[in-house]
């Protein structure tokens, strides 16, 4: 996992790029072609987030530099130097993707890994979020790993603008970017400040990212992130259960219960939501409602019959 070192292996990089250009006739950039042939209606033709800061990389440390760029833009005071010890592995002369995500969480930001879609990257930039990307500037068999930040694009010219290594506004052809990005498995991440949502509209993805990040984020960040999720997907049991569980963890039993009640008012299909609300109602002393909900959970999914039995025995033993 070695980053492209600008001032020492310029020649290597140049050579890799030359090879790429040389092969461009027989290499494809399907997403770029599609975007240019048929520009998506909801995407402007050009965008530039000029006020994204610039953290020029030192030695092989493109990982800390790129991460500092996106964290700084999300209103988190940070320097590339302080990130070096957290994400940079000297023996590998580079940073692992998983460490990049973990460090963003340590700064109480929610990292959201985007789908492997160039359009998705452009959409996030258009919505004002710089996108952290991984590239393989070399070839698959001879990799030169590199992290950079996409801050702008121009669909008419077919270019992207990146904060990359020691270059502040590095304009590169979109097709070349797509190929270098594809060789790094299309890895792209936005760093979400508390409560901000990505443009990408995938509730399962958002749920998983947030569930992963929850233990490391500050409490108010978690609450804001779950609330934003419930607001976008009010009929999603994943979001409501996430928020409800989080509130319950803070001993806000009544609030946790009303989140699930609001969900069941718009969608009654979730067995897990009935199950959890049954337990919350029991805790709030509403035994009849608890029994009704537990029965409903079993009707929806027989796997919850233990809940019904447990609640029944708790009620009959007078708790």
């Amino acid at each position: 996992m070695r980053c492209c070192l600008q001032h020492k292996s310029v020649r290597l990089c140049l050579f890799a790029l030359l090879v790429l250009f040389g092969l461009s006739a027989c290499l494809s950039a399907p997403q770029t072609r599609l975007l240019q042939e048929q520009q998506p209606a909801r995407l402007s033709s050009r965008e530039l987030l000029a006020d994204v800061g610039f953290f020029p990389q030192e030695a092989y440390q493109c990982g800390p530099a790129a991460l500092a760029t996106v964290l700084d833009y999300s209103q988190q005071q940070v320097t590339a130097d302080e990130l070096v010890s957290q994400v940079y592995i000297p023996a590998r002369q580079g940073s692992l993707q998983i460490e990049m995500l973990a460090t963003a969480r340590r700064y109480s930001r929610l990292p959201y890994v985007l789908p492997a879609s160039l359009e998705s990257v452009l959409q996030e930039v258009a919505a004002g979020l710089p996108v952290l990307v991984m590239q393989n500037l070399g070839l698959s068999r001879w990799p030169q790993w590199h992290y950079a930040v996409v801050v702008g694009f121009d669909l008419t010219d077919g270019t992207l603008t990146l904060r990359s290594g020691t270059r502040r506004d590095y304009v590169m052809p979109m097709a070349v970017f797509e190929r270098t990005w594809a060789r790094a498995a299309h890895w792209a991440v936005v760093i979400l400040p508390p409560g901000q949502m990505p443009v990408d509209n995938n509730q399962t993805r958002y749920f998983q990212m947030l569930a992963d990040a929850e233990p490391s984020l500050r409490e108010e960040s978690v609450t804001a992130a779950w609330r934003a999720g419930v607001q976008r997907w009010p009929a999603s049991d994943l979001m409501s259960l996430g928020l409800s569980n989080h509130l319950y963890g803070q001993a806000l039993v009544q609030d946790a219960a009303s989140v699930l009640e609001q969900l069941l008012a718009v969608d009654t299909s979730s067995a897990a939501a009935h199950n959890n609300l049954a337990w919350l109602m029991l805790e709030l002393g509403q035994t009849e409602e608890a029994m009704r909900l537990a029965r409903e959970a079993v009707t929806l999914d027989a796997g919850f019959k233990q809940t019904l039995a447990d609640i029944q025995s708790k009620i009959s033993s007078g708790r």
Binding site: Q208, N245, N275, N276, G303, Q306, A309
Partner: protein, 131 residues
């Protein structure tokens, strides 16, 4: 069927994975008497995704022809996917993701898949009677 050394080794690993899976499964069965936690939900959504991933793999034409060459019914294989445990799915999905290019790699993975299904049919204590 004559087994090569590397295949023997992978069978050993698979058996270990499977045993771990069975143990995890029995632990999970005792659980759902309380509230469903966010981490449990996250785990479930991941298993669903992996199942879809493995299932899409089985839909590939070259995979189907390899399975058929081994006398495995594709529809049967698809229905087995539904019964794989979480850890088996994770192992398979990871192997599909890191599948290097080339015929040999795909062959090996198909072998792994077939072993999973045989184990699934035979049960852990009665491993490989058909091999």
């Amino acid at each position: 069927m004559q087994l090569t050394l590397s295949k023997m080794a992978s069978i050993g690993m698979l058996a270990a994975t499977l045993l771990a899976g069975v143990m995890m499964q029995s632990a999970a069965l005792a659980a759902p008497s309380a509230m469903v936690s966010t981490q449990q939900l996250a785990q479930e959504t991941r298993v669903d995704q992996q199942r879809a991933h493995v299932s899409a793999f089985l839909d590939r034409a070259e995979v189907q022809s390899l399975l058929e060459a081994r006398g495995v019914d594709v529809a049967d294989a698809q229905s087995r996917i539904a019964t794989l445990t979480a850890s088996e799915l994770a192992t398979l999905a990871a192997q599909i993701d890191t599948l290097p290019a080339g015929e040999g790699a795909l062959e090996t993975l198909i072998f792994v898949l077939v072993v999973f299904m045989l184990l699934d049919i035979a049960g852990v204590t009665d491993i490989f009677p058909g091999l």
